[in-house]
């Protein structure tokens, strides 16, 4: 594997995490470069969601380092990661359904009113509704009215808002955990084109999905997790649908191998 000379946008080094006696992740390393889409795949329980939550600051790893632009960061909370330009779309649960679209887009980063009212914590709700709409449009998502509550949207629209929020705020990296889950074919294609647009903006993207054709379609590299370990990290061109599935399940003879000895399956 040829080492990229550039410093990765975001790098995870030797990450381990266990819950009691259950080892969720063991010595996992991952590099994300600017303008690169990484596919993160693995069977249920392989540790994908745990890894995403460590990368996004929701969980803290037991061991290992997280580096943004080569600088060591340890997130104490998701807020830290967001401040550093890392945005995350969580599987199914990233939005507050009782809040408006605008409030969701600005959740945790509310715009306060100018002057004394702002100092007292009062919100510039109108600004947020207008800007939310613009932000989402910028990433190719048009919503009916940003005043509307998320609970009134269809599943596809909700997912669009969640992705739009992540892409609109991201300055470096976006982590997308199952963004095409529960979506129809047309909607999934829209999501994939949003990912491509993010890549063109120079963002690093981590795309987690069970839908292997999607992974093969949009990613540059694929990292395969099995039982908490990285079993393969290779350019997407080295995979086809069959070999990828085999690597995930471990049923085509691909063994857990060290990074330096990997070969095309």
């Amino acid at each position: 594997m040829s080492e990229s000379s550039a410093t990765p946008l975001y790098e995870a080094r030797n990450i381990s995490k266990s819950y009691g006696s259950v080892i969720a992740l063991s010595d996992v390393s991952l590099k994300i470069h600017a303008g690169e889409v990484i596919g993160l795949v693995g069977d249920n329980g392989a540790g994908k969601s745990t890894l995403v939550k460590i990368l996004s600051g929701v969980y803290q790893p037991d061991n290992g380092q997280l580096l943004v632009d080569g600088v060591d960061h340890s997130w104490k909370s998701p807020h830290d990661a967001m401040q550093a330009g890392v945005e995350t779309l969580y599987q199914d649960s990233g939005l507050a359904p009782d809040l408006s679209i605008g409030s969701n887009v600005f959740l945790g980063r509310e715009k306060l009113r100018p002057g004394i009212l702002g100092k007292l914590g009062f919100l510039d709700q109108k600004y947020m509704e207008v800007e939310a709409r613009k932000d989402l449009e910028k990433v190719g998502i048009t919503i009916p009215a940003s005043k509307r509550n998320v609970s009134q949207l269809s599943g596809g629209q909700r997912q669009a808002v969640a992705i739009g929020r992540a892409v609109a705020w991201a300055r470096k990296v976006i982590l997308l955990d199952e963004p095409t889950n529960h979506l129809g074919a047309r909607q999934s294609n829209e999501v994939l084109s949003v990912i491509k647009a993010a890549k063109e903006r120079g963002l690093g993207v981590v795309f987690i999905s069970h839908t292997l054709p999607h992974v093969l379609q949009v990613t540059d590299r694929i990292v395969v997790l099995r039982l908490g370990k990285v079993v393969k990290d290779a350019p997407t061109a080295e995979f086809n649908a069959e070999s990828l599935l085999g690597t995930i399940t471990g049923l085509n003879g691909a063994k857990v191998e060290d990074d330096d000895s990997e070969s095309v399956a």
Partner: protein, 339 residues
């Protein structure tokens, strides 16, 4: 009229055409509006039964009852918006009133100064109970129901232990403050109304309020969005405690003494006001205007039954029926919530 074309160029998801609700259907779907109608109908009904009902004296009674209920209703609205519940508000108000009464009884000085000290003590005791609630939830991992059940018992029990069950103090200057000054309103009632308005604006237009609803709507999403959920919940329960403490002072002013049982059971009336006001007990949606109307309706019915010479024990039954009607309306209305 041309039908409104769906403005959605929605790139993702189905562009379902918007239904334009008529004014009438919008009003009928609005819980606040229905509550307002119910309130007016109730007042009209009780007035036809006994014209005394519309008198200043009776209204000043209703507003005094309303004021002691709405502060706890405000507290409960914030807490319920986060998806929690605070069972300790009533006991805390009684406890705060008792402790403040001890403090005031031991003081010498101007009447106003003594009452101000009493107020500060009430706020401090309320805040203390709120902090204990927060600690029990955030650090001992108790759910709100259990944590506040603990403080309900502790505060209620302490009030009895400290007082031996008898009211503390006999303060005519306190009672004097509750004389109506503008129409049916006494100044404590006016203060309570002011607090309620500010609390409503704060809940619905501030970042604090936004986080309150966000946590009740989806706690994980709130945490993931960078909100410090534990810290915010601590603040909400402290706010609830402070409002309970202020209610304790209000009880003291009305009674002229710190009565250990003055807030007993008040938490249930407060929760009832919130539920009648249309809040979801699972969190994320509540309106303080709804709670206010809920509290007004509850106090109107209570006073109305008295004025109609209905045996007071029917009161609880009436409240129960109101809750059932309000809850029934919520399930009958077309659900805005899609899971």
């Amino acid at each position: 009229m041309s039908t409104k074309v769906a403005e959605s160029k929605t790139s993702v998801g189905n562009a379902s055409p918007e239904k334009v609700p008529t004014l009438l259907s919008r009003l009928l779907g609005n819980q606040q509006f229905l509550l307002l109608i119910a309130f007016i109908v109730l007042v009209a009904f009780f007035t036809t039964r006994n014209s005394v009902f519309l008198s200043n004296g009776e209204f000043s009674n209703i507003f005094a009852d309303f004021a002691s209920l709405i502060l706890l209703g405000v507290a409960e609205t914030y807490v319920i918006a986060t998806g929690g519940i605070d069972l300790s508000v009533g006991a805390t108000s009684g406890f705060a009133g008792v402790v403040a009464a001890f403090a005031m009884r031991s003081m010498h000085g101007g009447e106003a100064l003594i009452l101000i000290v009493g107020f500060v003590v009430c706020v401090a005791i309320g805040a203390l109970v709120g902090v204990v609630n927060g600690i029990l939830m955030n650090y001992a991992g108790l759910v709100p129901f259990v944590a506040t059940l603990v403080t309900l018992g502790a505060a209620g029990g302490m009030s009895i232990v400290l007082t031996g069950g008898a009211p503390i103090g006999n303060d005519p200057s306190a009672i004097a403050t509750t004389i109506s000054i503008i129409g049916p309103f006494s100044w404590p009632v006016l203060v309570v109304i002011a607090i309620t308005i500010v609390a409503g604006l704060f809940l619905h237009t501030s970042r604090f309020g936004k986080y309150t609803f966000a946590i009740g709507s989806n706690e994980f999403a709130s945490r993931a969005a960078g909100i410090n959920v534990k810290r915010h919940l601590m603040k909400v329960y402290v706010l609830s405690g402070v409002l309970s403490g202020v209610t304790g002072m209000f009880f003291y002013l009305r009674l002229g003494s710190g009565a250990p049982t003055s807030g007993a059971g008040a938490e249930l009336s407060a929760i009832a006001a919130v539920v009648i006001g249309g809040a979801s007990l699972s969190g994320g949606s509540a309106r303080l205007s709804g709670t206010t109307l809920g509290a007004l309706i509850l106090t109107t019915v209570t006073s109305g039954l008295i004025i109609m010479n209905v045996q007071p024990n029917w009161n609880q039954v009436a409240v129960a029926i109101l809750i059932a009607i309000a809850a029934g309306f919520q399930t009958l209305r077309p659900s805005k919530r899609r899971k």
